[in-house]
């Protein structure tokens, strides 16, 4: 939608919502599912694709699951 005063194209509500959603999910370590699916279709078309639930579990396990690089913040 274009702004009537300045003519700039502003993002609509849906776009802003998707942006906030993606940012919030990545803040807690869950990447974008649609990007993942698009990537698998593009590059590995004959391999299986995780469903949403499995994708979420996988993201959780990789973020907190182990190794010396877990989520750890102080400041």
């Amino acid at each position: 939608m274009a702004c009537r005063i300045c003519g700039l194209t502003l993002p609509d509500g849906g776009e802003i919502g998707r942006f906030v959603g993606r940012t919030a999910r990545l803040m807690v370590g869950v990447p974008d599912y649609d990007t993942y699916v698009a990537h698998r279709r593009d590059r590995h078309p004959e391999e299986p694709v995780m469903d949403r639930a499995a994708f979420f579990r996988d993201a959780q396990d990789r973020r907190y699951g182990g190794g010396t690089k877990g989520v750890f913040r102080c400041c």
């Binding site: 010396t68 989520v71 102080c74």
Partner: protein, 696 residues
């Protein structure tokens, strides 16, 4: 090559920047020069924003183009290894949010609150100068280096660029620093909850709430983070509201009223159990809650300050710049810098900047926004914490942050002690404040969190709800801090456990089996015992614990930053860009001078409040004469204080040795790189194939 591509960076013309500079200069002048009357917090905020904008536009651009030579044409790991999971080219603003959420923790909120004892001016100046020339530079350069090395970790990069031994020394240093960090963070929670049934109830309530969220997100509606977080936040707010009834109920209140010692033991047990549970059950959901609550609170506090425009009650500079202050001991140099730590420069960010972020960078041209920019935001959080502490009446501030040994335990004795320092506060005022925030007392609630909570409650209740909501906002702030500290304790214990398994595993390979329950439990127990020991000694410490442990944490954190900056300097020399290496050398030299001076004073200063060995001697001498010094109540406790201080001294010496060793390794690498004919850096990637022949 890169200079051309980055020219489009500033959409604003020169007149706008001249305006920003003028506004910044005027605000800074008001902040620095106005004496004898209070100033509005907006001056502080405006000065900070102007300084941040100018630093981002000019200095960060200089670092990007001239010093590092970022190359937007070069393929980043996110593209090269794109797997849709870890390596994903990500929108720069989404990644900025991710990176900021990862670096922001309790540190920048607590440090400035403690530093306010010297007045708001010295701390604010360091928050601004430090971030521009040290903190943001460190984050940016490490992020850059890691992006050019497939997103490898700091420890890994040190290993390949400096050698295997420096790699091990750095890893060991990181483990020690983590232990101290976990102890001091846990101590902040203990200090905030001791004798507060309202606070304790709400913090305990987060456990079932998180478990409910975890089950929801795992089985009921898998992956619905928004839903589970909304449920969690509603229940949290309900628990804060219900907490008031718990505190007033003669039956329930005693169930949630604990002394510091008991809370420490509860927390140690909790840390053990929480870190062996499956991550989806407790750790992950609570991390979601604390992340969203943290971002929301930061935004809310910023809006609150702008809306309420409070006056700063704390003087610009107090008499405690001479080092006699009750909140932390020691002179302005070096201890103010050690105390503020995270909001100006935090060594921990070098671990985050070489973690998940570099794997998602779309384009090297965005590193400046993400690396440098996110750290500027962190410094802004520090400035807001300084504002929150400074809107309190100084008398209230000192009553909250001084050990009972100095204040006594009644509002009358506290008011008298504070009057001796020249701050006027009536006993009624202290009692009133405690009643307003729904507590029995606010005396000696050291640790920064309660002070910040009262300051935030004052600001937020002026915006929403008035005095009736003050207690709600106070407990909201306590809960929000406790929540992400507990998340850190849980996650940090896990990380420490893996580090211990890694370290011990080099000698006994069986110990590395992270699937073996025996090895896991033993390593977890070792990790918990290590931080638990420092936590407990903090609770029984004669100076109140925070006074002892926070500088130790600050020294450790700043030393990690020194290690990171030494690595950055080596990289610049290896890239044959040493003409601009002063950009990392200047903050490096400052940090080394600052931390080694602080370490030396913590070891050998004659004032028992500052020097660990002097304190140990004082207690040892008294014990030899058969006397008891507060807070020890028996000969065993006297001996314990002596031992604790000697161990603190040993740890300080160890930190100093680690940083001096790393400096030595760095210097050796720099001499070698300077003598080499070509570029010797060990970057990976296809952008610069000609570099690889030199590296071999």
């Amino acid at each position: 090559m890169s200079a051309e591509v980055v020219r489009d960076r500033s959409p604003l013309g020169w007149p706008v920047w001249v305006g920003v500079a003028a506004l910044g200069a005027v605000s800074l002048a008001v902040v620095a020069l106005k004496r004898g009357e209070t100033i509005n917090a907006l001056w502080l905020v405006t000065a900070a924003v102007a300084v941040h904008l100018i630093a981002f536009r000019f200095y960060a651009t200089f670092v990007a183009d001239r010093v590092l030579g970022v190359d937007p044409a070069r393929v980043t790991p996110a593209h090269r290894h794109n797997d849709g999971l870890d390596y994903v080219p990500t929108d720069k603003w989404v990644l900025f949010g991710h990176h900021f959420a990862a670096i922001a923790g309790a540190g920048p909120l607590v440090g400035p609150v403690l530093a306010a004892q010297m007045g708001y001016l010295p701390g604010t100046l360091w928050l601004l100068a430090g971030v521009v020339f040290a903190g943001a530079v460190q984050d940016f350069v490490v992020l850059f280096a890691s992006t050019r090395r497939d997103g490898r970790s700091l420890g890994d990069m040190i290993k390949t660029e400096l050698g295997p031994i420096p790699g091990v020394v750095a890893s060991f240093g990181i483990l020690m620093i983590m232990i101290i960090l976990l102890a001091v963070l846990a101590l902040i929670v203990v200090k905030a909850l001791a004798g507060s049934p309202w606070g304790t109830f709400t913090v305990f309530a987060t456990i079932p709430i998180a478990i409910l969220m975890g089950i929801w997100g795992r089985f009921v509606r898998p992956g619905r983070i928004g839903e589970m977080s909304a449920i969690g936040i509603v229940l949290l707010v309900a628990s804060i509201v219900f907490g008031r009834d718990v505190a007033h109920s003669p039956m329930l209140a005693p169930l949630f009223t604990y002394k510091g010692e008991a809370l420490a033991l509860i927390l140690i047990g909790y840390g053990f159990v929480a870190s062996v549970l499956p991550v989806w059950l407790l750790l992950a959901p609570r991390d979601y809650l604390s992340t969203f609550l943290k971002i929301g609170t930061i935004v809310g506090l910023a809006l609150g300050i702008v809306w309420v425009r409070p006056e700063l009650q704390m003087p610009a500079i107090t008499r405690f710049v001479d080092g006699t202050g009750p909140v932390f001991s020691g002179n302005l140099f070096p201890f103010l810098f050690i105390t503020i730590a995270c909001g100006a420069i935090s060594g921990f960010h070098s671990l985050i900047s070489s973690g998940t972020t570099p794997k998602m960078v779309e384009n090297e041209g965005q590193l400046r926004l993400i690396g440098y920019g996110a750290m500027l935001m962190e410094s802004f959080v520090g400035v807001m914490a300084m504002v929150a502490a400074s809107v309190l009446d100084p008398g209230v501030y000192f009553a909250m942050n001084t050990a009972p040994a100095i204040l006594g335990t009644t509002v009358q004795s506290a008011a008298a002690a504070i009057a001796n320092w020249g701050f006027v506060v009536s006993p009624d005022m202290l009692a009133d404040m405690a009643r307003q925030v729904g507590e029995t007392t606010i005396l000696s609630r050291a640790g920064g969190a309660p002070t910040l909570a009262v300051g935030m409650a004052q600001i937020l209740s002026s915006a929403i709800g008035g005095q009736a909501m003050m207690a709600f906002w106070y407990h909201f702030a306590i809960l929000f801090e406790a929540l992400f500290i507990l998340t850190t304790v849980d996650a940090g214990t896990r990380v420490a456990r893996f580090m211990i398994q890694d370290l011990v595993g080099t000698a006994f390979p069986a110990f590395k089996q992270t699937k073996s329950w025996g090895a896991n439990l033993v390593a977890t127990a070792v990790a918990v015992a290590a931080w638990g020991w420092f936590l407990y000694q903090g609770v029984v410490d004669p100076l109140g614990g925070i006074n002892t442990l926070w500088p130790l944490f600050g020294i450790a954190n700043q030393m990690l930053a020194a290690i990171a900056l030494a690595f950055c300097t080596v990289v610049l020399f290896k890239m044959k860009r040493q003409r601009h290496a002063w950009v990392t050398i200047v903050p490096l030299v400052w940090l080394v001078v600052c931390t080694l001076t602080a370490g030396w004073q913590k070891l050998f200063d004659e004032r028992p409040a500052v020097g660990f060995l002097a304190q140990a001697d004082r207690f040892a001498r008294a014990a030899a004469e058969g006397k008891l010094l507060a807070p020890a109540k028996s000969a065993e406790q006297m001996a314990q204080v002596v031992l604790n201080n000697r161990i603190d001294a040993g740890l300080t010496a160890l930190f100093m040795v680690v940083v001096i060793a790393m400096l030595g390794f760095g210097l050796r690498a720099i001499v070698k790189a300077a003598a080499a004919d070509g570029i010797t850096t060990k970057e990976v990637g296809d952008g610069v194939p000609d570099l690889r022949s030199h590296a071999a």
